[in-house]
Amino acid sequence: MRLNSAAAVAARKGPRRATHLRRYENLTAFAFLALNFIGYLLFKLIPILLALILSFTKWNFVSGISGVKLIGLENYARLFSDPVFITSFINTIVYAIALVPVSIFLALVLGVVLNEYVFGKGLLRLAFYLPYISSMVAVSIVWMVLFIPAYGPINTFLTNIGISHPPRWLNGSNSSLISIIIVGVWQSLGYNIIIVLAGLQGIDRSLYESAEIDGANVIRKFFSITIPSLSNTMFFLVMISFIRSFQVFTSVQVMTQGGPGNSSSVLVYYIYITAFEQSDIGYASAMSWVLFLLVFIFAIVRNATRSNQN
């Protein structure tokens, strides 16, 4: 069979013909990629760059392009004196730091249990995964009812087991963010478990057998074999979970609208309110770039840490 690759052609017909063919192959590849790239350019890259430009302006988009007013760094300067932005920024970080380790740890434990020690694995995996594929709006509405302080099921249960002053959940400024975190952990668990399970399938069974022969117990095997073997999977999960956590919005929008008193306001929610309810596109763009930088810096630091470990 004749090969059509540039290398094979070079071997038969010389270097000029090979370069020409390689160029054709490259052009074909770029042509097929172009469609996706054009979409990325039009709907992602250009809007991101436009947002950067708008972050230096004051603009109510209803007034049209003629209403754009350049104001320099005013929007960025305003961020430092905006208590709601500062609260939202801190809440976003707290949400991510609280949710990611808890969710991943639970996923790891449940993943190991589901992988080895349980009957009816398929059904249980489905049960854990269902929240992840459910509409976050529907999930949030259900949790709002569960969290009702006076007679919601959660507080009714807590009262029945002797806790006389259960938390006010969504209606307490000390507990509203925790409530959002709980919902986030519950919803993300399924996806994390599936990723962990996939990682566990890739671990060589002979390692466990050897460890058993050497007398290792379940806990020792978990820490000495399972966790090190899952390091790549964990790295991926941590990255994805943090990036997703920084973008939390739906649960806040549906359940608390950032309240009570901005105690559960997060960056994306505040950006949304500023852009679309207060029509301050410039300021919202500045905040969205701060969020972008937060995620970007996190990704760089995490990659650098990973490289050092390798």
Binding site: E25, V62, M144, A150, G261, Q278, S279
Partner: protein, 456 residues
């Protein structure tokens, strides 16, 4: 390889041709001869537009054709997106005074005084002094109210009968309201029945906590007369917030904030459902709340009797004062036919309001010239509302009352003040902030926000 490239290139060309052809077809279809299309944008259920469309198209046959474009809702984003989309909009409706002012200041809307002058109409005479005050921006008007949403109290007559509580009197006071709510509240836990349901502090909600203050202070209730400072330190503000705080947190006779936001009683359809289902005995809502007794919103149980009462008056005021807010119609500056748009607005808001506001059980934006006209209109809006005590409702609506507009069209500091009100009031009605602390916070920061905006 060459064949593959050729196929790919052909596919791209074909796709482009289809896309451009579709665009051209759309453009050419809008350029056909015939009556000028007047595009009315609103969130009204299409069934409620049928009569207006039919009447307008009959009156202006051959000249204009009213075309209804339904929006998903009245949210700021929905309307702004439509306005920014470049679609031909002849009339845009909205229910937020703040948004109206922003859009007017951004140059989106056409000044309407020219049309009023041409038609020989005086805005204040047609719509009332209070409405005129709030809609007048530097001597021009950028919206026409098609509905004046008067706040009333709907009550479950059967629950009143069962508790032995007399029905609300025409000029009852807030003290009467509070006493009735206490008597009507009973039960515990999930089975607790409350005396009243009113939205005091849901974000961007009705803010009924400020009602007494609005009744006493009038239009632009939290601005001082010079609009340079706020009046959250006014005695009426403390009286208003303290009153509702006591109802919610001391008497516990009103549905708590945590419950009504979770169960969505602050949504109009659910609000009425909660009332006739016996979750609470009184519901403070605009007069169009009766719309939600219609079959299309759910089957009303047999034997339901819903009464209508005036909004209570503050102790010390001798006559009934109701707060209202308007739903308005505006003409975008880039509308294709200004005269056609004005014709549609005039018909829907002044000449034949029964065809628009009437279909939605809304009180019209204009003032009634005679009691007979009012009676006829209210008979229309209360018609076909199973469970409503229509004769009582008619009597109550014809009672004299002063109307205070809640529409706040003064822009300085408003966005941030409203955000602060949302934030502080959720803390107050969750028991985390005292009344005095909240009002002090609103006064201090509110004044700062106004000053900051004025310095820009």
């Amino acid at each position: 390889m060459r064949t593959k490239i050729a196929i790919f290139a052909m596919a791209m060309l074909l796709t482009s041709a289809i896309v451009f052809a579709g665009g051209s077809a759309e453009k050419s279809s809008t350029a056909t001869a015939g009556p000028e299309k007047v595009y009315w944008y609103a969130w009204t259920a299409p069934a409620n537009m049928v009569d207006l469309i039919a009447a307008f198209n009959k009156k202006y046959a051959g000249k204009y054709e009213l075309v209804y474009q339904k929006m998903a809702d009245a949210a700021t984003l929905t309307i702004n997106t439509a306005l920014a989309s470049g679609a031909p909009i002849s009339v845009m409706t909205q229910a937020s005074a703040f948004d109206l002012r922003e859009r007017a200041d951004s140059g989106v809307f056409l000044g309407l005084k020219q049309f009023f002058d041409k038609a020989g109409l005086d805005y204040a005479t047609v719509f009332g002094k209070s409405v005129e005050e709030t809609m007048n921006f530097n001597g021009d008007y950028y919206a026409v109210p098609y509905a004046n949403n008067i706040n009333m109290v709907f009550f479950n007559e059967k629950m009143f009968d069962a508790a032995g509580v007399p029905y609300p009197q025409p000029h009852w006071t807030w003290s009467d309201f509070r006493a009735a709510a206490k008597k009507l509240t009973h039960g515990t836990g999930a089975n607790k029945v409350y005396g009243a349901m009113l939205d005091v502090a849901a974000p961007n909600g009705d803010e009924y906590w400020a009602t007494i203050a609005q009744q006493k202070l009038g239009s632009f209730w939290y601005y001082n007369s010079d609009f340079k400072t706020t009046r959250f330190d006014a005695p009426a503000m403390k009286e208003s917030l303290q009153f509702f705080y006591d109802m919610f947190m001391v008497d516990r006779s009103a549905v708590p904030l945590s419950q009504y936001t979770a169960l969505k009683y602050n949504n109009d359809t659910n609000g009425m459902k909660g009332l006739y289902s016996g979750r609470y005995a009184m519901w403070v809502a605009p007069v169009y709340g009766s719309l939600y007794l219609m079959k299309s919103y759910g089957e009303v149980p047999e034997g339901t009797r819903i009464g209508l009462a005036n909004l209570p008056r503050p102790d010390g005021l001798s006559q009934s004062v109701s707060t209202t807010y308007s739903s308005q119609a505006s003409i975008p500056k880039n509308t294709p036919d200004k005269e056609g748009a004005w014709a549609a607005i005039k018909m829907a808001t002044i000449d034949n309001a029964e065809l628009y506001a009437g279909q939605k059980a809304m009180n019209p934006g204009y003032q009634f010239s005679t009691n007979a006209a009012a009676d006829a209109f209210y008979k229309l809006i209360f018609n076909d509302k199973p469970g409503l005590d229509v004769s009582e409702a008619l009597k109550v609506m014809l009672l004299p009352r002063e109307l205070i507009s809640k529409d706040n069209t003064h822009i300085q500091g408003q966005a941030k003040i409203n955000e602060l009100i949302n934030s502080d009031m959720t803390l107050v009605f969750n028991g985390e902030m005292s009344v005095d602390a909240a009002l002090k916070d609103l006064k201090t920061k509110g004044d700062q926000y106004i000053a900051a905006d004025m310095n820009k």
